[in-house]
């Protein structure tokens, strides 16, 4: 059944579940028959955005596929916190191989299913930003370019968190990590959604754990397409971002409301929709609560770094039309 997009922001609530809606429009998590793909007992830190994101995405995928999906996972927090042998938090078929090869392993799964004529079973690959934008990029690009029938999800926490918060290719400009102790002076971080779009794959989308209905919608929508699909989810990491474990959702929302993280969809390489920002905020609002940016506001404030980050956010706002009014249709 095709999923209808529901926009919630006029209500001011992003709460999951809404019993006033028709059952098929309710949040996946509101459904008592959800799969609990990533179930309780895992060892993620309190407030881990990645654990939250993964659960929402996979449950949505399972609902969209009638519980017929196979997952492949790159090395990283998600794999480590969910599978301490002999325990496993996964209630879906799940395979871990390596840090850099999840997209290619997923391709292999998809190829095997095709050879066996099993069109009912779908494949999902997933990994952190390090596994995706750095070490696994060649495999991912190959998977995109061949248009293999795989949905790949990147949980972007802006660093190599599992190995103790080192800089990755997706770490934002200015952030402190254990390998950039004074804050990095590199670019803005690789935008893998744009790289994915350049491959003209059927579907690319970004989302955050601040808007879980939107996240579910995008995972569901992605399963309506065949071929290579890419979902990039911003998942704050309390440990690496040096935020309180109760601030995960808030800080993800600030990333969206400042324009730092544009939320959009692209079909066949063209942007088709972007989530508008209702109340635009300066990037400082996003940076200030995070310990990894504390040095920008210290004794010697780094206005230069802040204005550079602001300029990047402004560019996102322009590029994706984030402050333009919604079209009335």
């Amino acid at each position: 059944m095709p999923v209808q997009r529901i926009k919630f922001y006029q209500t001011g609530s992003f709460a999951v579940g809404n019993r006033l809606l028709d059952p098929d429009q309710r949040s996946v998590q509101a459904d008592t028959a959800r799969t609990n793909s990533l179930t309780k007992g895992h060892r993620a830190c309190q407030g881990c955005g990645e654990a939250l994101g993964a659960r929402y995405v996979l449950d949505a995928v399972m609902r969209a596929t009638g519980n017929r999906a196979v997952t492949v996972n790159a090395t990283g927090c998600l794999e480590v916190f969910s599978t301490p042998f002999p325990e496993s938090s996964w209630r879906v078929p799940w395979l871990h191989s390596l840090f850099g090869n999840a997209p290619a392993v997923a391709t292999g799964v998809a190829a095997a299913l095709r050879a066996k004529g099993r069109t009912d079973v779908r494949v999902v690959g997933q990994g952190g930003d390090g596994g995706t934008v750095d070490i696994g990029l060649a495999c991912l690009s190959g998977m995109f370019e061949r248009n293999d029938d795989v949905l790949y999800i990147c949980y972007d926490n802006g660093g190599y968190m599992n190995t103790g918060v080192q800089r990755s290719g997706a770490t934002p400009h200015g952030a402190v990590t254990t390998t950039t102790p004074a804050g990095n002076s590199f670019g803005q971080g690789k935008s893998l959604p744009l790289i994915a779009m350049a491959h003209r794959i059927p579907y690319v989308a970004t989302a955050t754990v601040a808007d879980l209905r939107d996240l579910e919608y995008k995972a569901t929508r992605a399963m309506e397409f065949r071929g290579a699909r890419y979902l990039h989810v911003l998942v704050p990491c309390p440990l690496g971002w040096r935020t309180g474990s109760g601030e995960t959702i808030q800080v993800a929302r600030l990333a969206v409301e400042t324009g730092v993280f544009p939320v959009f969809e692209a079909v066949d390489g063209e942007v088709t929709d972007a989530t508008r920002i209702r109340r635009l905020r300066p990037v400082e609002d996003y940076l200030r609560p995070q310990g990894r940016f504390a040095h920008l506001f210290g004794d010697t404030p780094r206005d230069d770094v802040i204005s550079r980050i602001q300029a990047e956010a402004d560019r996102n706002i322009r590029t994706f039309g984030l402050t333009e009014p919604d079209e009335v249709s």
């Binding site: 599978t83 090869n101 292999g108």
Partner: protein
């Protein structure tokens, strides 16, 4: 049916008759002809159902094979040299996860300096990866070993590498009996995977294992290899009964019984070694040859049984353990403690191993004049000039 055919094509056709469901590989000489031929067989529909995946690297190739195998498909790939090293991380995964992938390694030297010619440095660098390694002596054996490899791999749930010497075998055209579809089907049952990714019975494959269980996991891998020492000869016997020719097994002895000197070698060089030994035997020299087909697992018992009674053993190596000497020699020494063993490093990077050189070498060996470590046909003047300059 016997036909004049290139080694690579014979292997490709044989592999196709084993009905792999996923085939992938990345081009590298001297392996390329094998996957080219397979891509044609898939495109023409002769090999179906089969997915031919064009990957972006060897790391991708092994990864695709891992995903396919974990989903219950018979998976095949091929590589050589730098490509095998580029796969290294994934090789350990394939064996660690117990995935019965079959791979051809068209053996080639490893750079630098870059060199495309044959030696065994590539496969031997992956000695401890947990893969079974079988070495083909001829193109006939290369083809036959692939049929056996799928059976061995699937029976043990372990990956198998069939090593065939690059160019010397891969590019040589000769008369080969390519196993027919009917024969292969009579010999190789359909693949029944031990465990698969299946939404109807979800399992977690590849969980994180800590110190409390890791040793046990590795022990089990070792034990599987010990078991392979029984499976490999049994499969070879079955093969002989089905195909009416013998091929494979752990070792091949050639006049070892009662021989005072025995030469141990792997791969295509065995042909030249045997020719040379024939000549020496005709002259009354007591010398035999032991060909090792299974390098991993190393068949210590079988080697010991064949070398028992020899006064000296010469191990001809096509790879070098830098800073140590021989690779196979260590295993042979372990198998026959007390027997004097000389290591001969020969044919690195495609240097021809000639009958003339071998004859001189064996004559020295028989006269107990051989150094413990010899580099066959080493150009002494060149290395001494260089050593003089750098010391």
């Amino acid at each position: 049916m016997r036909s004049q055919i290139e080694g690579s094509r014979a292997v490709a056709q044989t592999v196709a008759r084993c009905r792999p469901e996923v085939v992938c590989a990345y081009p590298i000489s001297p392996q390329t002809h094998i996957v080219e031929a397979l891509s044609v067989l898939v495109a023409s529909g002769e090999l179906a159902p089969c997915e031919f995946v064009n990957v972006e690297s060897e790391f991708g190739a092994m990864s695709v094979a891992i995903g396919a195998s974990a989903t219950g498909a018979r998976a095949y790939t091929a590589t050589a040299s730098q490509g095998l090293l580029y796969m290294a991380e994934a090789l350990y995964n394939a064996s660690g996860l117990g995935l019965p992938i079959v791979m051809t390694v068209a053996n080639r030297a490893i750079g630098a300096p870059i060199n495309i010619w044959n030696d065994h440095s590539d496969a031997m660098s992956q000695r401890d990866s947990g893969w079974i390694q079988l070495y083909a002596e001829s193109n006939q054996e290369a083809a036959d070993l692939h049929v056996q490899a799928f059976r061995i791999a699937e029976e043990l749930s372990l990956p198998v590498m069939v090593c065939m010497d690059g160019f010397v075998l891969t590019h040589a055209v000769e008369g080969i009996d390519v196993p027919s579809q009917e024969q292969v089907e009579a010999f190789l049952p359909p693949f029944e995977p031990r465990q698969v990714l299946d939404p109807d019975a979800p399992i977690t494959i590849g969980a994180m294992v800590g110190p409390e269980a890791f040793t046990e996991v590795r022990y089990l891998a070792h034990e599987k290899h010990r078991r392979a020492l029984e499976v490999i000869p049994r499969v070879a016997d079955d093969f002989a009964r089905t195909f009416w020719r013998s091929s494979g097994g752990l070792v091949h002895s050639y006049g070892c019984l009662g021989a005072e000197t025995i030469v141990v070698a792997l791969g295509s060089v065995l042909g030249t070694v045997k020719d040379t030994v024939d000549e020496l035997r005709a002259e009354g020299v007591s010398i035999g040859v032991l060909g090792v087909t299974s390098f991993r697992p190393f068949p210590s018992d079988a080697v010991r049984a064949r070398l028992r009674g020899a006064r000296r053993v010469v191990v001809l190596e096509r790879a070098l353990a830098v800073g140590m000497g021989g690779i196979v020699s260590g295993d042979v020494r372990e198998s026959v403690p007390g027997t004097p063993i000389s290591t001969v490093v020969a044919g690195l990077g495609g240097r021809p191993v000639t009958k003339k050189s071998l004859r001189a070498l064996f004559t020295d060996a028989v006269a107990d004049r051989l150094e413990p470590l010899t580099f066959l046909d080493l150009k002494r003047d060149v290395v001494e000039r260089e050593l003089g300059r750098t010391s």
